[in-house]
């Protein structure tokens, strides 16, 4: 550690990015509030949930460089915690008769369920992670995928506790945008705090130079485990809130579809960057939404214009290919969005923590 840097520089390296990202999220929330349209409001809620999921993924993948296909399993764990703890006891007893008595009688508010979901997911992340974090590279990725398949199988077949493949309904629906905004902002701050923490820096060092990091005393499985547990908690909270956003859960909601959507958003945004995670979601979700409006038809003067159904999926694919052609490391690359760079950070521009992170396409 060298000289003490100036206050502005410290701020830029620490708090500016999450604040800017939060402001961006607040703008979306205000747009939903100002528009007063319920479907649009629901769309913004969906965007915030995706922000939570992708930030959860970033916390682990971005910092460790290990691609995880299994994080949606934690969202599944969280989603079912919301079902177990918030559905009215009477409805629970017919849908999920195998729940223990204390859980059967429990009826807590949605925010408490989100915290409980985060805790439950974090616990299982600790259990799974203790084993999985010893693996590296592709082996770790495949093992996380196996974890996803395992959780999905259990939740699809444990009839008395998860109602198997049936939808679990009766979860109180929360349709105001604010709780989701708060959760998204909290997850952004949590992810940021972790990535500038001692463990976060050590983990990124291990990502870029595992041998050197280990030689410098970084216990790689341990720092990975910390990231895994934190990201599991974020995913768990996201899963619980997802359940509250539509009022039901099924195991297949939290499976391959969601895994690939969230992973592709992270890849497009930039895997090594928190700003990338958030901005990737915002850009892709906005694009999806605009294309859907065009599919539904837009009146231009006298005539109306509509894209044929299915164009949205194709156009989204094309845009993603183009982004990755011209910015292979994603929109943000490995850089963060700070006050100094109001538009997109150029690859090679000084990031907030370039001490431990060489810029470029390292992930």
């Amino acid at each position: 550690m060298a000289r003490r840097p100036s206050t502005a520089s410290v701020a830029r390296r620490t708090i500016v990015t999450p604040v800017l990202l939060s402001v961006l999220l607040v703008i979306f929330a205000l747009a939903a509030w100002a528009a007063g349209s319920r479907p649009f409001n629901q769309t913004v809620i969906d965007i915030f949930l995706q922000v939570i999921f992708v930030v959860g993924l970033y916390t682990f993948i971005g910092n460790s460089g290990v691609i995880s296909f299994g994080h949606v399993a934690f969202a599944c764990l969280g989603g079912y915690v919301a079902a177990w703890t918030t559905i009215k006891p009477m409805m629970k007893s017919s849908a999920m008769p195998g729940l223990p008595d204390w859980l059967m009688q429990m009826e807590i508010p949605f925010w408490a369920a989100a915290i409980a979901g985060a805790g439950f997911a974090a616990f299982w992340a600790l259990v799974f992670g203790a084993v999985l974090m010893r693996l590296s590279g592709i082996a770790a990725s495949i093992a996380t995928f196996a974890m996803l398949a395992m959780v999905n199988s259990i939740y699809s077949n444990w009839d008395s506790v998860t109602a198997a493949t049936s939808s679990v309904v009766g979860i109180p629906i929360v349709r105001t945008v604010w709780p989701y905004l708060v959760a998204a902002v909290l997850s952004v701050f949590a992810a940021w705090a972790f990535s500038i923490s001692r463990h976060g820096l050590a983990l990124r060092a291990a990502r870029d130079e595992p041998t050197a990091a280990a030689a410098s005393g970084v216990d790689i499985p341990r720092v990975r485990l910390v990231a895994f547990v934190l990201s599991g908690a974020i995913m768990g909270a996201g899963g619980a809130l997802y359940a509250h956003s539509i009022g039901l859960v099924t195991p297949d909601t939290f499976y391959l579809g969601l895994t690939f959507t969230t992973l592709s958003m992270l890849v497009v945004g930039g895997m090594g960057s928190l700003s990338g995670a958030v901005i990737g979601v915002l850009i892709l979700s906005s694009l999806i939404q605009i294309l859907r409006w065009l599919e539904a038809g837009v009146a231009i003067g006298e005539s109306s214009f509509a894209l044929p159904g299915g164009v949205q999926e194709i156009a989204l694919g094309v845009v993603m290919i183009l982004i990755l052609m011209f910015r292979p490391a994603g929109i943000m690359g490995n850089s963060e969005w700070t006050g100094r760079l109001p538009r997109f950070a150029k690859p090679g521009a000084p990031g907030p923590d370039n001490r431990s992170q060489p810029t470029g396409d390292q992930t």
Partner: protein
């Protein structure tokens, strides 16, 4: 990024220029226009549109023309919730949701929380209604359990079947529902005997093990209750017949249609319960007339009986609105719940304050003989299946 947000905000303002209007009656379809559910939703929705245009041609409902608004669920649950909210914002008085309970529920829950009536196009689970959505939700079809119970009772009485084998595909709730109804009915039939039971999965390429167990019975059972659905049903049926088992095969409505029969040439002794016949031999000539109209509108014949519930849905709802003199939810629900054996083109319909679904219904029995399906009989189970038995 700011510019994007501005565009987004501007587009939203354009998109929300819809207001609820008392001068109009609006039916909102939050159904799948894309994705795999479209194959189920579209035909039933077409049938619903036929009933709507009939009503409009006859002068409308309460003197007003029925208008329709749509939103696509994209066969996705989260999109389903948005589609539900979207048609509600466009002023829907009644919300029609996807055929399947899992995919229709998010939109139905949105309608329920806005105090509106929701109708599942053709869901056959008891949850599609009061039990899984709330007191303002209905289904236009008949419970899967009724299909299993109908086949058991009919085959016992009309075909003299006494020994049954139960083969369940555990893939979906629908399949389990058929077998639940069969299980409910069988003990009520004196000296009917279950000689064996087995399960398989829709995606199983081979059910050789299950077939071996049927073959090793001392005597071939009179009937096999096959609780399955497409696409796995075809392979299961083919394998059963290829193994030389000639017992009658009893099914749910899910295997109705002739589109797959070429895969099992000369299939015989095969029975399916249907709400109406797509084969042009319905005892009610009006059904055949409806089929012709459907062909005129959509360019093709109905491919399965799942077209019909869409028609029934608009029919019973419009009658209830007419009787209530308003589209106001509680009044219409009260009128719907008064319906007891209400005649429709496809058999009588009953709704009660306990069940917004059919736990007893008239079914036509379609027999496939030498690869040719046709109506041979009709049957209504002797008593409704109690709600308590449906809930477990």
């Amino acid at each position: 990024m700011k510019r994007l947000t501005a565009i987004l905000a501007a587009t939203t303002c354009l998109a929300t220029a819809a207001f609820a209007d008392d001068e109009r009656i609006i039916v909102g379809f939050a159904t799948a226009e894309t994705g795999f559910m479209q194959a189920y939703d579209k035909p039933a929705q077409d049938a619903a549109m036929i009933r709507i245009s009939e009503i409009n041609e006859a002068g409308g409902l309460l003197g007003k023309q029925i208008e329709v608004v749509n939103a696509d669920t994209k066969t996705d649950r989260a999109e389903g919730a948005k589609a539900g909210l979207s048609v509600i914002d466009q002023g829907a008085d009644m919300v029609v949701v996807s055929c399947d309970y899992d995919f229709g529920a998010p939109a139905a829950l949105a309608a329920e929380s806005s105090g509106l009536i929701s109708f599942f196009l053709c869901a056959e689970s008891i949850k599609a209604g009061i039990q899984g959505v709330g007191p303002n939700s209905f289904s236009a079809s008949v419970l899967a359990a009724v299909q299993g119970a109908t086949m058991a009772e009919w085959s016992y009485n009309k075909k003299g079947a006494r020994t049954y084998y139960r083969l369940l595909d555990t893939w979906t709730e629908y399949n389990k529902g058929i077998c639940d109804g069969f299980d409910y009915m069988l003990p009520k039939l004196a000296d009917a005997k279950l000689v064996g039971e087995d399960t398989f999965l829709n995606e199983d390429a081979s059910i050789a093990a299950q077939i071996t167990r049927i073959k090793s019975l001392p005597e071939e059972p009179d009937a096999i209750m096959l609780c399955t659905m497409m696409p796995g049903a075809v392979s299961a049926i083919k394998q059963i017949r290829a193994a030389g088992i000639n017992s009658m095969i009893l099914n749910g409505s899910g295997v109705d249609g002739s589109y797959w029969l070429s895969a099992v040439p000369d299939l015989s002794n095969f029975f399916v319960p249907v709400q109406g016949s797509i084969y042009g031999d319905d005892p009610n000539p009006e059904v055949t007339a409806f089929n012709a109209k459907y062909k005129e509108v959509t360019g093709g014949d109905p491919s399965t009986q799942y077209v019909y519930p869409g028609y029934v849905m608009i029919d019973v709802w419009a009658k209830a609105v007419e009787r209530a003199g308003t589209t106001e939810t509680s009044a219409v629900v009260a009128e719907l719940e008064k319906m007891n054996g209400e005649p429709t083109l496809f058999g009588p319909r009953t709704f009660t304050s306990e069940l917004h679904h059919q736990n007893q219904a008239r079914y036509l029995i379609v027999e496939t003989n030498a690869g040719k399906p046709g109506v041979v009989d009709e049957w209504t189970i002797s008593e409704p299946i109690p709600v308590a038995d449906l809930m477990d």
